[in-house]
């Protein structure tokens, strides 16, 4: 199924009002609100016509202009062989997104990475710790307005 068909199917079967977004080039995606994310994700995984059993990638994104943070879920079904890009966006001052770790185990480390580098808090994650930077690192490096700290534990970081 294509993104449109999946959106249509979801709207028809579950009464949602999802709408795919198209860009000038590349993939299209659907945006869901964080309050229903887990529900949608569970449906996507378990519905027998969708069966997205593979979470290929989970990325945190900083949308600087809108003062928002976003998470992109790249889903794939090895059974039906179709893909879907799902996005969720949260305000910068309260970046809480429900965790999908219990649905796809692979999200565990991806979410930790998004937390570490972009600063999104995943509610319900079993151990949301920084993964690539040290635990006491300041700031989230992949934010567009990130400024590197001058020294870390009395060692100059070279700026």
């Amino acid at each position: 199924m294509t993104t449109e068909e999946i959106t249509e199917y979801l709207n028809r079967e579950y009464g949602g009002n999802l709408d795919p977004t198209y860009a000038e080039a590349g993939d299209s995606w659907i945006t869901v609100s964080p309050s229903v994310l887990r529900e949608v994700a569970k449906t996507l995984r378990d519905d027998k016509n969708l069966q997205f059993n593979n979470l290929m990638c989970l990325s945190g994104i900083h949308y600087q202009k809108e003062n928002e943070l976003g998470v992109a879920y790249h889903l794939h079904s090895t059974i039906h062989d179709h893909k879907l890009v799902m996005k969720v966006r949260v305000p910068e001052d309260n970046p809480v997104v429900p965790s999908v770790e219990s649905l796809w185990k692979t999200a565990n480390w991806h979410e930790r990475e998004a937390y570490d580098l972009v600063g999104i808090t995943f509610r319900g994650h079993p151990g949301l710790l920084r993964i690539l930077t040290p635990q006491d690192w300041e700031g989230h490096p992949l934010r567009k307005d990130y400024e590197q700290q001058e020294s870390y534990r009395n060692v100059s970081t070279g700026i």
Binding site: A23, E24, A25, D27, T78, N108
Partner: protein, 381 residues
């Protein structure tokens, strides 16, 4: 008669010990640190600690502001299969920009990628043997890998980080004796696989050490989004070159070897190992077909854009590297790349380690880490 009660033994203090495996340890394949809790020699808990090799690839890629400039940095993600990292990236950008690539370039990319796959698997197999105490197969593998590196060096000028692919084409023309060199390698390498099998694959100690160890069931593998030999070792026939072909892989005939549990359970270390060995043979097949079909003439820089005109949009492109699915998620703006995320197979495959190493011995843990075949550059980016 009163029931006989056995005297209660004095309470034995049973403490677990936490040991640090790494960041400096002979078999962590780089700077991986495992916080291992052991009860005697039995591993009760493993906590991987990564990030020692974090080189801010994503931040760099964003700040460079030009798609062409990112290519050399992609090399450094997984330095053992640098060409695959480049290939994934240029394919993603080409998809974003809707660029058509000349035939000759496509064939060349496939041949190089398959050569690199063999080189990478040789390293993976060799170090796996080394982890189990077999030193000699490691060097045998390196001799063969050296032959590949010589070809790649002739082509690109570098041995490890090639920077040879570019958006829309190749950096420079193909040397004239490339085809003959590659043919020579292909014919000389076939018998060497048999030699390796004699020395390692069918060695009974090797089988004892790897069969039934670190079993990864197919459902768990899918739930963890494992890919590459890790997933195929669990018996799932999933290879992007077959199932979601990119470049020109749909033109070649080859098989996708999967783990069958020949020596133990499906999805054990031996299965993951044998998938790599058999994949090398399949790669040879692809190289042979590609060499036969490759057009002899053509400008490899024909489609390379003078200046890349960025488009607004985003792509997620995945390619099959020796370690599994490498995904590039590129969000593009008119001014250039806004966000580039590399979803590396090493990172995802390593996250499975705690799930499959519970109850193993310390020696098994080494075998399991070796069979996942991670490259820490890929894990930490």
């Amino acid at each position: 008669m009163a029931p006989v009660t056995s005297p209660q033994p004095a309470a034995i203090e049973n403490r677990t010990m936490t040991i640090n495996m790494g960041p400096q340890h002979p078999s962590t394949h780089g700077v991986l640190r495992l916080e291992v809790t052991v009860d005697g020699e039995v591993v009760t808990k493993v906590k991987p600690d990564i990030g020692y090799l974090h080189r801010c690839f994503e931040k760099y890629a964003e700040s460079l502001g030009d798609y062409a400039k990112v290519v050399p940095y992609t090399d450094r993600i997984d330095y053992v299969s640098a060409l695959h990292q480049e290939m994934g990236y240029v394919i993603a950008v080409e998809k974003l920009l809707e660029l058509e690539v000349p035939e000759r370039v496509e064939y060349m990319r496939v041949i190089l990628a398959e050569l690199q796959r063999i080189a990478s698997h040789l390293l993976g197999i060799g170090t796996f043997g080394l982890d189990l105490g077999a030193f000699t197969p490691f060097l045998y593998c390196f001799i063969e890998r050296e032959n590949i590196l010589r070809i790649l060096e002739k082509v690109s000028g570098a041995r490890l980080l090639y920077n040879y692919l570019c958006v829309g084409g190749l950096m420079r023309d193909i040397p004239t004796d490339f085809t003959s060199d590659t043919w020579e390698f292909v014919t000389s390498f076939r018998p060497k696989i048999k030699e390796l099998n004699d020395l390692l694959t069918t060695n009974s100690i090797f089988i004892d050490r790897t069969a039934n160890i670190g079993v990864l069931p197919a459902e768990v593998a899918l739930n963890y989004s494992a890919s590459g030999p890790m997933l195929r070792g669990s018996g799932v026939s999933w290879d992007l070159r077959k199932n979601d072909p990119y470049s020109i892989y749909d033109r070649f005939e080859f098989n996708v070897p999967v783990g069958q549990g020949e020596m133990g359970t499906v999805g054990d270390c031996w299965d993951r190992y044998i998938v790599r060995v058999r994949e090398m043979e399949e790669s040879l097949k692809i190289i042979e077909q590609a060499l036969d079909q490759m057009p002899g003439e053509g400008d490899v820089k024909e489609a390379v854009p003078r200046r890349i005109r960025s488009k607004e949009g985003e792509v997620y492109v995945r390619t099959e590297t020796p370690r599994g699915e490498l995904g590039y998620y590129i969000i593009s703006e008119k001014s250039g790349p806004y966000r580039i995320k590399a979803r590396t197979p090493s990172f995802v495959n390593l996250s499975i380690l705690p799930a499959i190493s519970k109850g193993a011995l310390v020696a098994d843990l080494v075998a399991i880490v070796g069979s996942i075949d991670i490259v820490l550059g890929g894990v930490d980016r």
